[in-house]
Amino acid sequence: MNTTWSRFNVTSIVLGFAFLYLPIVLLIVFSFNESKLVTVWGGFSTKWYVSLFHNQGLMDATWVTARVGVISATVATVLGTLAALTLTRYTRFRGRILFSGMVFAPLVMPEVITGLSLLLLFVAIGLDRGFFTVTLAHITLTMCFVAVVVQSRLVSFDRSLEEAAMDLGATPAKTFFQITLPVILPAIVSGWMLAFTLSLDDLVIASFTSGPGATTLPMKIYSQVRLGVTPEINAACTLLIAVVAVGVIIASIANKRREVQRQLDEQAAQRG
């Protein structure tokens, strides 16, 4: 096939990526600014990172956010995987349309609505707002994203593998854990990571469902941003970006390795 990659195409990609990345790059650069004015360069300095680690409020919020993220992403991954299995495997059961609606709607639902409705639920059942309620709210939101990610993998899954395993006498549970799970594992891992970053990122739903003593990092950053832009927030944001970037890079390297290994195995199998 003759793919002409014209000058127009290259230009639009370069401009597009510049638009996507320039603001983040500038944010990172100015976190190393000596001057307190965020937009005037006053020399290189890491002092904002030092002051960041002495900011107890920010540190506490980071710890809360990390715990909420790990717990909610883990539970959401289990629930989301089950939801994905339901969507792809059980095409006929009562209320299936309602179910798929409930999985897809939260993906686009404005966060203010989700946040408000969850808060009103927690108040109605008399649950004290705090760490637990934020976690429940994040599970609900992120499990839908996990479901979509895992589902896209399950759709292309060759079910004859499972049937072969069952024919050879494997129980459904054994088939699932030895055949299905390893195949969809990359999707489950990226689902977990997506859930974790969404939880890490969320301001609106957390603000509604959180209570005293469970201030998350985005809530903390938001309340400081409202007071003005400071290099310290830039430093906090840079660290957050770094954590996510390292995670994504490790995951993609691991994925690539697995892919190479799989290809080698296939070649070996064909030769043998």
Binding site: N2, T3, W5, S6, F8, N9, V10, S12, I13, G16, F17, L20, P23, I24, L26, L27, T39, L79, L82, A83, T86, R89, F93, F99, S100, G101, V103, F104, A105, V108, M109, P110, E111, V112, I113, L116, S117, L120, L121, L136, A137, I139, T140, M143, V155, R159, S160, T171, P172, A173, L200, P218, I221, Y222, V225, R226, V229, I241, V244, A245
Partner: protein
């Protein structure tokens, strides 16, 4: 198709398995459906019923700040007596205050304009990616997804430093002598447009790319060979074929943008009006839970049609995936 035939062929052998195993499998099967189903019913659907109920209640200075509370403290009769106190006063209030009406209209208009702008910015990027050499396509795809992993709040925050009157954009334009006075962009609707286009761009590019990448490029060549000029080849072939991606991308941008809070709040300042911000203020500043619930109910009704379209598009994509 052959898979189904095989399944049918082995069906007797499964039937011959011990009854207990089959019962166990049936139970597990049901559990796979029931657990996420019940979770979503309880944490997604029931909350909307509660929002609707509270939107019919009255504000009260208490905790929770609305009345009637509708619980069983006064027994069953007390629970039903509470229903008589529910009414549509909050909705009447929303129609009487022009502020809310204006906020809804502005939000829909802003979301619609931003969606079109995102499409205009995103289409050339997605097209360029789909035409790129196959070897670098995964890298380009990764580069589009990567900003999506970084915090939404941070990406919006980054623009404050750029758009401020003494910000980086004005510094650049002033030093290049393009302008003599700093432009006022922050705290205007322009800043909201920039914020939405920037934050939601990956949501537009990804579906566009996936439908453009699948396109058979030889169709364009055939059109060219037959003397069709490139622009009309684009409008007659490329664009119609990418329509599923266009629709999915537009819905993914439009629906959340209508209720957007962070962008109008941080970039739009106090002079701009959007319904997500109105709801937030009604709830956190005025502590008026019933009115904010009514605002949410109307917003949800407003978005029902786009959300259903989105679900249909998703279901369709799912069918095609099979």
């Amino acid at each position: 198709m052959s898979n189904i035939a095989i399944t049918d062929a082995i069906a007797p052998s499964t039937a011959a398995k011990p009854l207990l195993t089959r019962l166990g499998a049936g139970f597990v099967n049901r559990l796979v459906i029931i657990v996420p189903y019940v979770w979503l019913l309880f944490f997604f659907l029931i909350p909307f019923v509660i929002v609707f109920k509270i939107s019919l209640s009255q504000t009260a200075i208490a905790m929770p700040p609305y009345t009637p509370v509708l619980d069983f403290r006064d027994g069953i009769s007390g629970f039903f007596a509470g229903f008589r106190n529910l009414n549509f006063d909050n909705y009447v209030w929303l129609t009487q205050d022009a502020l809310y009406f204006k906020a809804y209209i502005t939000s829909v208009v802003i979301a619609a304009i931003s969606t079109v702008l995102t499409l205009l910015v995103g289409y050339p990027i997605a097209y360029g990616m789909a035409r790129a050499p196959a070897t670098i396509r995964p890298t380009l795809l990764m580069l589009v997804i990567l900003p999506f992993w970084t915090s939404f709040l941070i990406r919006v925050y980054a623009w404050i430093g750029i758009l401020k009157p003494e910000g980086l954009l004005n510094q650049l334009l002033l030093s290049l002598h393009i302008i003599n006075q700093p432009l006022v962009i922050l705290n205007t609707y322009t800043a909201i447009f920039i914020g939405i286009v920037y934050s939601y761009l990956p949501f537009m590019v990804l579906p566009l790319y996936s439908s453009l990448e699948k396109m058979d490029y030889s169709l364009i060549e055939a059109a060219k060979d037959l003397g069709c000029p490139p622009t009309s080849a684009f409008w007659k072939i490329t664009f119609p074929l990418s329509l599923p991606g266009v629709i999915a991308g537009c819905l993914l941008v439009f629906i959340p943008a209508v209720g957007e809070f962070v962008i109008p709040d941080l970039l739009g300042g106090s002079s701009t009006l959007m319904i997500g911000k109105t709801l937030w203020n009604e709830f956190f500043a005025n502590r008026d839970w019933p009115v904010s619930s009514a605002v949410a109910v109307i917003l949800l009704l407003l978005l029902t049609v786009p959300i259903m379209l989105f679900q249909q598009a998703q279901a369709k994509a799912q069918e095609q995936g099979k």
